[in-house]
Symmetry: C2
Subunit: 230 residues, 2 copies
Amino acid sequence: MTMSADQLARAIEHTLLRPEATNEAIDALCDEAIAHGFHGVCINPIHVRRAANRIEAAGSSVKVVTVVGFPLGATLPANKADEARRAMDEGATEIDMVANIGALVALDRPTVRQDIEAVARAVHGGAVSGLLKVILETGVLTDEGKILGCRCSAEGEADFVKTSTGTHAAGGATVQDVALLRKHGSPLGVKAAGGIRTASDALTMIEAGATRIGTSGGVKILRELADVVS
Amino acid sequence: MTMSADQLARAIEHTLLRPEATNEAIDALCDEAIAHGFHGVCINPIHVRRAANRIEAAGSSVKVVTVVGFPLGATLPANKADEARRAMDEGATEIDMVANIGALVALDRPTVRQDIEAVARAVHGGAVSGLLKVILETGVLTDEGKILGCRCSAEGEADFVKTSTGTHAAGGATVQDVALLRKHGSPLGVKAAGGIRTASDALTMIEAGATRIGTSGGVKILRELADVVS
């Protein structure tokens, strides 16, 4: 697949979710996202307001994406909804929630649905409607669990399904899983995340059906792509 | 150090925080904790009500411990407080919150304090007062950061400091860190967690000053200890 560096940049969420990240590291992330034309920055809730202010001050349209119930997905639906609501108040416009993974493993459809719906109401029900992505943690699921996650996300009015948190020992995005999410998650978008480190990784994921790429390696990826093209 | 299996059991929080844990796995954890006389079970918020009901139905005094802002500590103070409040409503009596780790790295005392105080109000301010433990994630901190974490925990009216989440690549509890938390966290309790897998690990931590042990290996640890004694 061929794609310009600009096109690829617009699919990338420039990601920094390490708990020890300082304010200075978040500032640098935002500045890189603005400079390279990334779609957004993906950061923890405590950094949302700072990032939103910095990006707005620069007159940039880079989005602030944050995570909810991250990375275990094992908080109560009402708490995930509160987290999403507060994050949007602070300036986030896209929310990546982690689904109830134990319930996906157990194929417990009502519990998975209820959890997603609670957050979808928070994300879509305010003055400004945001985008909701549902992280399935595909590495620990059977195909049946992944498909259930896609259906519950679509029925629960999410906007995207997302492969992985990038923190689980079971691994991140695979081409097979992205294709499966594309097939069963349609018409939702698909975000591939977890272990995407090279331009080849990123392009392969897009070819398999990903419409967004979550990675901490965006700057390196664009540089690689520029080298190939030039 | 010599200690009976019963004495050690009373210091152990039997822990299962894997996101893919099913209800059945939580039930088994509770039953083991009751059978072995562990201090408590340490589980994710979505499992608190089920565990509390099961333990109460068995007439046991095993405590339900849960985690807040886990494992990144990067949610807003108000969300951590909400999480703690709801967990206590569901039946938890001990809350292990993750501190704002980036703020500890940056030695940003006001931010660390405010975060702990918000949760302490939730844990101590309700009809039933719970215990609050503050996880510092010592593996990513300088000694100065660890000492700041101890001071803010004591001033913020927490009840324990705890070494680690057990999920960070930088590692779990060390003897040196437990001794440091004992020295600077006093009069708070000290919970050692992360990487404690053998009876020798557990006894060494207690000798260094730990008053609680968080481990998923409690059953194996007690068996080892019984073998040594018999």
